[in-house]
């Protein structure tokens, strides 16, 4: 393999590097394009916890969208992020109160597999979440496909191994 790498001249090497950049930038553009179309900053998420079992298990992939003019309803499965927290949560909405004057939505969520609602997960004394906390409504899912992400989260070294191997093959693979 290294032989092959050495055989590449400067021009070919530059082409390979440009190819990699091309692939990465188109992936980025597709992601951002879908984010624009769905109005959700993260249109595809991986389920990280078992709190929605048996509907979703760890590693299931969820597709989100977040239409501006469609209010959240009771029973919607929403991905939301509490202020100053890193990890978004996927849970079902169990209470909805829409303020008549402002249209502001007061929402309460709960995981299907949890015994109690999410007020314990919100910030102290926070009773409700609002539309600005919502990243998106789950519209569809594919089971297990996101398990690679979970593995990479659990074993960070795996990420570098996979990236390294992929990068190497892309670099040495001609034509």
């Amino acid at each position: 393999m290294l032989e092959e790498l050495r055989r590449l001249n400067g021009r070919q090497l530059a082409l390979q590097v440009l190819n990699i950049i091309m692939v990465l930038s188109s992936a980025m553009m597709i992601w951002k394009g879908v984010a624009l179309a769905t109005n959700s900053e993260s249109p595809v998420v991986v389920v990280l916890s078992g709190s929605m079992e048996p509907a979703f298990f760890r590693g299931d992939l969820l597709f989100l969208h977040n239409p501006v003019h469609e209010p959240i309803k009771a029973g919607d499965i929403c991905v939301f992020q509490i202020a100053q927290r890193d990890i978004p949560i996927v849970h079902r909405v169990i209470k909805v109160h829409d303020e008549a004057k402002t249209g502001k939505q007061y929402l309460l969520t709960k995981g299907d597999n949890n015994n109690i609602d999410d007020r314990g997960l919100y910030n102290p004394r926070q009773m409700w979440i609002n539309k600005e906390h919502i990243i998106g409504k789950a519209r569809g899912h594919v089971p297990y496909v996101g398990i690679v992400t979970i593995l990479m989260n659990d074993y960070p070294q795996l990420k570098y191994v996979i990236l390294g191997v992929l990068g190497f093959f892309v670099l040495v693979n001609r034509e």
Partner: protein, 185 residues
């Protein structure tokens, strides 16, 4: 030249293309054919009273002894087995109280829910079910509020989009009474 890595590459990309096309096809078929509607779904309010307390049935502390909780009993008759087809993983069924107040034009409070995982348990007939979650308004007062109960279902497929539906609520309209006199609380 066909070396090992090229063969592996071709085999893997074919496998993943086939897998994802299949998943896409399954999702598309279910999206367009849908899951139908249940042959019957009926909720009936049997008893409603209002009590003052700091806690509802889910023990969240509302901090005021004068918070008003609805205590409801309902009957539920539903045959949801028609919603089970080859791509139904589970049903999430909930009973929702809906009402309008002066300050809030849409209010939905889930008072009970159940996960149904197979067709055999999709026939539900329950009597005098108490509310599982707190039936409390945003203002924590009921003031003879009128509300209606309905049954909602959310079909979770093995692969594909979720589909929701609900029963006709006009048959289960009720009015919250005034607070009952409290003793020993």
């Amino acid at each position: 030249m066909h070396n090992l890595s090229q063969r592996a590459n071709t085999a893997l990309s074919l496998a993943s293309t086939v897998l994802f096309s299949m998943l896409g096809l399954v999702a598309a078929i279910s999206f367009f054919t849908g899951y139908g509607s249940p042959s019957s779904a009926n909720v009936q309010v049997k008893n409603i009273k209002v009590v003052q307390s700091r806690y509802g049935p889910d023990y969240f502390d509302y901090g005021r002894k004068t918070s008003e909780f609805g205590v409801i009993k309902f009957d539920l008759d539903a045959d949801l087995s028609d919603l089970f087809n080859w791509n139904t993983k589970q049903l999430f069924v909930s009973v929702v109280a809906e009402y309008e107040t002066k300050t809030h034009n849409k209010n939905q409070v889930v008072i009970w829910d159940k996960i149904i995982r197979n067709k055999e348990s999709a026939k539900i007939s329950l009597r005098n079910v108490p509310n599982k979650y707190a039936l409390i308004d945003f203002s924590q007062k009921w003031r003879k509020q009128q509300a209606k109960l309905s049954l909602h279902w959310d079909v979770t497929p093995w692969v594909g989009t979720f589909q929701m539906g609900s029963s006709n609520a006009s048959t289960a309209v009720f009015t919250f009474p005034l607070v009952e006199n409290q003793s020993g609380r």
